[in-house]
Amino acid sequence: MREVYRQYWRINLLTTLEYRTNFLLWFSFTLVYHGTAIAALWVMLNNFPSMNGWDFRNMAFLYALWMTAHALDATFFSTIGEIPQWIRDGEFDRLLVRPLDELFQVISTPGAIFPDELLLALAFLVVAIAANHIAVTAGFVGLVALVVAGGALIDLSIALLISTVAFWFVQVDALRWIVLQLEQEFTRYPLSIYTKGVRLLLAFVIPFGFMNYFPASYFLHKADNGLGLPISVGLFTPAVGIAFFLIAYACWRFGLQRYQGVGH
């Protein structure tokens, strides 16, 4: 398995090198995507001192935490989001007859993956930490690493759950699209601005709040976190990530065992 995975990254890097123009195009795409999002926040906060007590620097840190966790997931596990398409095309059935774990085969299907977004995210995270004058101790670095890993697990688990739904309902694009929008646009702002139902949804049902808002509230010593929970709840991100992944993986195994193909 280790050899397969090594080869997988070799192919990814070789593909990226082969299609340089394409890589540059998609890299500028990543740059502009995050650039416009951050610029919009900057323009907004340029006219208002803060949003529910969060100024632009705080919001940049909020964005950086989400971006890093998301990029970590996207770099290593992006193919999980393609499962519904493979099921529809019948491609997925090929994986079932091979002597390796199906999920491992999914995450080792090569494309032109390069860790450019992750590097960009880490750079932005460093800038955001410096801008917020957070004391960088070994403990802090360790906690951030755990939070980012936990956030990536949350991101990955949600993608896996949606892909699992595709075993039963072949067409899951609408579901995926709505969840993606909730994730990308709702994680940009402090969770406390939302109405109660949305706050609960983002905290406990689709726990995007644990990817950035709760940990950021903890690291920035905010007075409250919108739900009256103790501020240290932000450190639960890795636990939430693991728990969520176990649930998602159990659902995935359950779906896989009942999967009969879509009739190709």
């Binding site: 195009l25 500028s28 502009v32 416009t36 919009a40 208002f48 694009d173 709702f186 702002y189 601005i193």
Partner: protein
């Protein structure tokens, strides 16, 4: 005359019918609009809650601005000429050149059909949006000026997209560039945050770009930030952009079309 126009009317009708088959897209674009309207409401309410109104723009005005901007996006964010890119990609453009039609007009008719179908989505989207926010309605005269300016903005957008898709004559692949263009348009056009909120120096530069002529000008007319005395000036600028971009589009199209003939498809 009628006979000359007839094929293009049919192209437009065909494009409308084609768009109507993508039920999933219809569902998500209305659903996503509702989610965005909710988001704009909570975001601006939170910003105004503890701070003074900047530039004398009160909360209800900014909510109106943002909601109307989202509804306009249903039309302006469509790439009406993506058909050109698709046809260049699979080479089927060659067949169109052989037909006794004007290909740019065909693309325009197809884009118009697509846009008209999406324009119909404004009705359910607006109904849904009104459940979430209150939208101010200006006087009939101001609304009329807004409608004219919106139409001019639509043509600015059409030529920008047309030029972008013509690039595919040379590169064949422009998906990444298209997405970049949408975000840049939304930000620099003032769809996400009014251009009035940008720092003064930056504002002047952004107002000088064609993106402002798409979203910002009609929107500022709608909320009354641009008074009637300035209508001639701002719409004149929109017309300038239509002419300038139209000329560039024509030149690029000619160069590109010649290239396809040389390649032989």
């Amino acid at each position: 005359m009628r006979e000359a126009i007839e094929p293009y009317v049919q192209f437009a009708l065909k494009a409308m019918a084609r768009e109507a088959t993508y039920r999933f897209e219809v569902f998500t674009s209305i659903g996503s609009l509702a989610v965005r309207v909710y988001l704009l409401r909570v975001v601006w309410v939170a910003l105004y809650a503890r701070n003074a109104a900047p530039h004398g723009v009160p909360l209800h005005t900014i909510i109106t601005y943002s909601a109307v901007a989202l509804l306009m996006g249903l039309i302006l964010d469509i790439d009406q000429t993506s058909l050109l890119h698709d046809k260049l990609h699979d080479g089927s453009i060659v067949v169109d050149f052989m037909k006794p039609i004007s290909v740019p007009l065909y693309l325009f008719a197809d884009g118009t059909g697509e846009v008209l179908f999406h324009a119909a989505l404004i009705v359910p989207s607006l109904a849904l949006a009104l459940l979430i926010v209150h939208i101010d309605v200006p006087s009939a005269a101001v609304f009329g000026a807004f409608a004219v300016s919106f139409l001019l903005g639509y043509f600015v957008g059409f030529f920008l997209n047309f030029i972008l898709n013509c690039v595919a004559f040379w590169t064949l692949e422009i998906s990444a560039v298209q997405l970049i263009m949408t975000w840049v348009t939304d930000l620099l056009g003032g769809q996400i945050v009014p251009l009035l909120f940008f720092p003064a120096g930056l504002q002047q530069a952004i107002f000088a770009l064609p993106f402002a002529a798409m979203f910002s000008t009609p929107l500022l007319i709608y909320i009354g930030e641009i008074p009637p005395e300035r209508y001639a000036e701002v719409m004149g600028l929109q017309v300038f952009w239509i002419v300038a971009l139209g000329l560039i589009a024509t030149a690029i199209w000619r160069a590109g079309a010649r290239r396809v003939v040389v390649q032989g498809g």
